[in-house]
């Protein structure tokens, strides 16, 4: 029997994801489809996708710098009518977000890294980390214009 729910994206999920382009993009597609079904605009979906992918890529690039390549990161997402919540937890030692220099100052503008956090903060409504710094928690509140 075909599953009548098969064409609907689950509005929440918890999964371990590998450092694999297709896996990350498939997850992005899944979250975005659920956000679309929940009525979020294209601009909102762009913001959420960018932040989600940025968080995962950053977790592997920085958090897992000293870990085996096949180590996974844990991703949780919840898409609700008024907000979207994403958590990405890596298995690394964590970092202090306040130690990340402002990448937009003139002396840092030509540096090749350090922009991920800035972008996540710009696109999401709220971005926090756990105390040990290996988990990023992001919330996107639905703009009033879309409600």
């Amino acid at each position: 029997m075909p599953d009548p729910q098969a064409h609907h994206a689950q509005p929440e999920g918890r999964l371990e994801i590998a450092n694999d382009r297709d896996a990350i993009m498939t997850l992005g597609d899944r979250v975005i489809r659920a956000a679309e079904e929940a009525g979020y605009s294209e601009a909102s979906r762009f913001a959420v996708r960018l932040a989600l992918e940025e968080a995962i890529v950053n977790a592997f690039k920085h958090g897992h710098k000293s870990l085996p390549e096949d180590e996974t990161v844990h991703v949780e997402f919840e898409i609700e009518p008024d907000e979207i919540r994403i958590r990405v937890t890596d298995k690394g030692p964590g970092f202090s977000p306040e130690d990340v220099p402002d990448p937009t100052t003139e002396e840092n503008l030509s540096k090749t890294s350090g922009r991920g956090l800035l972008l996540m903060r710009a696109y999401m409504t709220d971005v926090t980390h756990n105390d040990s710094g290996n988990q990023i928690r992001m919330t996107y509140a639905r703009p009033e214009s879309q409600s």
Binding site: R21, E53, V57, P103, L109, S110, S113, G114, G116
Partner: protein, 119 residues
Amino acid sequence: MASEDSRLRVSVEDGVTRVDFIDRNILDEANIKAIGEELNQIIESASQPKLVISFANVDHLSSAALGQLISVNSKVREHDGQLRLADISPQIYEVFAITKLNKLFEIHETASDAAGSFG
């Protein structure tokens, strides 16, 4: 540049090299590294390269992709060349604006505008 694994489409006209991305999402390190290596080959094969990178196919990019573009820009300058970016959608342009990289790169509306801008 036409290898099966190529992540770029490259064309040369009137001494200007135009590069288009094949991927719609320039995301992960492996992908970005491959793109960087291809671009480096292009830059190194020309003296004073004139390079236009078109984002016409690109829906998403990560901060790691921005980092690679900065490396490409430095490499082009080392070779006394010039780099222009073009065909950037409003959503992607916002990423450049937030990071203030719209000040670092010379960005044109279209690839033909960019090609016409070289002195």
